[in-house]
Amino acid sequence: MSSPRARELFGLLPVSLLVTAGFTAVLLTRTEQVSNVTLVYGGFFLVCCLFAHLFIRARLAEADPYLFPLVALLAAFGLVMIYRIDADLAREQAQWFVIGLVIFCATVLFLRDIRTLERYRYTIVVAGLVLLVMPRVPGIGEPVNGAYLGVRVGPVSFQPAEFAKLAVIVFLASYLNETRDVLVRGRFGRLSLKHLGPLLLIWGLAMFMLVFIRDLGSSLMFFGGFLALLYVATGRLAFVVIGTALFFGGAAFFASTVGHVQDRIAIWQDPFARGVVDDEGYQIAQGLFAQADGGLFGQGLGQALLELPGGSTILPLAQSDLIYALIVNELGLFGATAVLLIYLLIVARGLKTALIASDGFSKLLATGLTAVLALQVFVIVGGVTKLIPLTGVTLPFISYGGSSIVANFMLLALLLIVSDRARREPGRGGLVA
């Protein structure tokens, strides 16, 4: 049982068990009888995972064995939660899951050598920027909750920011890998605009996202990922400090001029204020009530109160923004912590991959991708728990959302590609500057 693929296969067993058990539990609370649905969903999921597993076995035989099962676990869990909210949404989510896996395989197939990405980095980053701006283009953009996140082209609607984040990370990993010598050794006075330029560009990008697209969450995520890469690439904490200061300074400035950001912060500080609690603060307030209702062990899968008399929901956007609140409500503090632990394990495996990668680009790429995933989790869970203002970022693999699933599967593909190469030709893995 020592081959990584064997371990991976073994790891998929609990996943399929969970899916089946989860669906059964939800179904039981609904109809009090187990029907074919459970078996269909469970079997279908298992088949998909098996297929992907076989694909990985063929193309990335040495890749990290735990990443895929962990991700599958999250995806399965997400599917069960969404099924519990609405069976139709679950079917859509399952479709996106399949598409995600297809994209995953395609990425692995076409990207034999990760270093190809370095060659096209400028194209990639421009594409990313275009994607970011798209929601603001009149005609195809559609604001949600005041934030311009979505794009609708005909029947298809997606969130470009999810893909843009990948593009920007790829670019940054490559760029910082090249310029790190200068950045590490150069004294601040001597650094020319040529080197600082792209850095300031990223900062500008984050501010731009704040103001133009009005997405505080993505702004945090991008900039945080960037700072993480900057720190890992240069080893200089000073950059991080300056960067953080710049971000908060810029945010504070724009907060006073951009109403939307100000609102978010006001709601964050006191969601229970009279007038606010029924209006803008309703979402976060109900999310907190749901969590209090969950307590230590939760109400049980499928048992939480979701509907008001009359059919409207007591937990707005339970399938996306507030899905963490629903998780806490049904599985309690213990269940939610378990979910967070799974994410932490994924982060651990991702960073381990970064550690053993041999070349700078791979290291930085793995770091960046993992960092941005971790930050995404932090931003949304932090928002739901009122650690930071609530934003519209998705919980990776669990939240309902096609773009999120597909983009995150691409992220996983990239990580596994790096991992496969890293484990074949390990770098020194020691303390390399």
């Binding site: 009530f289 969590q291 971790a374």
Partner: protein, 447 residues
């Protein structure tokens, strides 16, 4: 770079630990505050999932029940009141977004089923749904209808209780309301003229007027200082507490018996009697009758008020030097009493001087028909000896036979005992009309 990567991982662990900390803040440490938050409707909504027990009249007719809507996990229950405004008071109402009042409020623990979490869990696991218990009250719909008709749309209140048990058969307060309309008309009802949401029987306070002379008479007889045949001075006017007091119509009766003094409701007699009895004695008997305390009735405490002397909203001791005993004895001074209290006075005399606790609940039955609780009639106090009570009964019978209470006489040979009262209300324009009584005199069945 590796060192930095490791440090980055440490940072992520820290961030995630923060997330867990904040999650536990809402699930554990501040959970109770969140649950108590006014904007949190989950508690109320959970209540809606449990069918509330029914409230029944003494003959079994349904006064309040829960109807369900929706299916399976979305099934919700809401209250309906088949008899409408007949029992607006004392039934009250219970609606998730309007709150509760009356019996539907005070009976909440019984109506929502067992509060014991363990047996609730057991029930849920075994597939039984949690249901509330039914409560059979002492109320009589037929009698309630008669009472309502008698009031004929005027503002007022009627309380009828069984002297022997304290069980309340009738509790009317008009203007009343139909509890079914509370969800739509709450704000309107709350501010309407005539205060329909106020239960005058338990919450309305009014000067008792001459009906209070019954209390004075009880004190007079039971203390042994007077007999029904004692001669007292009925001249008018008399100086009481430094000011002149007259009888009704300024009639000067001269020396008369105590009995006649009650029959004709002679103010000056009773004023003097109270002054001679003294504040301590009056206070003692008032306390025995239940004045000065919230009546021990199974009804929400915040909708039941004590009767007594009120000075600027606070109760005054009858023995206090500032109290004009004479005028208090005839039901003036600063006395404010509830119809329930005065009904209790009548019932006590009828029950040979033993005051029973007013009771609205007869028994509590669970959904399988088993009796869960059956409150027994309880004596609140022995106010006066049986002999004095009998004497007072005779005196009160005369009031109805010959005196101011002849309107209360019944046909068919049923003897009624009672006392009338007319209180002057501050504004001076309208007077408050009172009557307390009981019958049949030989074996009283209703007060």
């Amino acid at each position: 770079m590796n060192r930095q990567i490791t440090r980055l991982f440490a940072l992520v662990v820290l961030l995630f630990a923060l997330l867990v900390a904040f999650t536990s803040r809402w699930t554990v440490f501040e959970a109770s505050e969140l649950e108590a938050n006014a904007a949190n409707r989950r508690g109320l909504l959970e209540q809606q999932r449990v069918p509330r027990g029914r409230i029944l009249a003494r003959d079994g007719s349904v006064l309040a029940s829960s109807v369900g809507a929706g299916r399976r996990e979305n099934r919700r229950y809401s209250r309906t009141y088949p008899l409408g405004d007949l029992f607006g008071h004392p039934l009250g109402y219970s609606f998730v977004d309007r709150g509760q009042a009356g019996l539907d409020q005070s009976l909440d623990p019984e109506l929502t089923g067992d509060d014991d979490e363990l047996s609730t869990i057991v029930k849920e696991l075994s597939g039984d749904s949690v249901r509330g218990n039914d409560v059979r009250t002492t109320l009589d719909p037929g009698a309630q209808r008669v009472a309502m008709r008698a009031l004929g749309g005027r503002a007022g209140s009627i309380v009828a209780m069984e002297p022997r048990t304290g069980r309340i058969r009738v509790m009317v307060s008009t203007p009343g309301y139909d509890p079914n309309t509370v969800p739509e008309r709450y704000r309107e009802l709350n501010t309407a003229a005539g205060s329909p949401l106020l239960n005058r029987a338990t919450q309305g306070t009014y000067p008792p007027g001459s009906t209070f002379k019954v209390v004075t008479a009880a004190a007079a007889l039971d203390s042994g200082r007077f007999r029904p045949a004692s001669i007292v001075d009925g001249s008018s006017p008399k100086t009481i507490s430094g000011r002149p007091l007259s009888n009704f119509g300024d009639q000067d009766y001269g020396p008369i018996t105590l009995t006649d003094a009650l029959t004709n409701s002679v103010n000056t007699v009773w004023a003097e009697v109270a002054t001679r009895l003294g504040g301590e004695t009056m206070a003692d008997y008032m306390e025995r009758f239940g004045f000065g305390k919230v009546p021990p009735i199974d009804y929400p405490r915040d909708q039941t008020v004590p009767s007594g002397l009120f000075n600027r909203g606070r109760l005054l001791e009858p023995a206090d030097r500032r109290v004009d005993l004479g005028r208090m004895a005839i039901g003036q001074e600063r006395l404010q009493v509830t119809p329930l209290q005065m009904a209790t006075v009548a019932a006590t005399v009828a029950n040979r001087g033993s005051r029973m606790e007013p009771q609205l609940v007869e028994r509590v039955v669970d959904r399988d028909g088993r009796v869960v609780d059956q409150p027994r009639p309880a004596e609140a106090a022995q106010v006066m000896g049986a002999d004095s009570a009998a004497e007072l009964t005779e005196m009160m019978s005369k009031v109805v036979e010959e005196g101011s209470g002849t309107a209360a006489a019944l046909e068919g040979g049923i003897r009624v005992a009672g006392k009338t009262g007319t209180a002057e209300v501050d504004s001076g324009s309208t007077n408050q009309a009172w009557f307390i009584g009981f019958g049949p005199v030989d074996r009283p069945r209703m007060a």
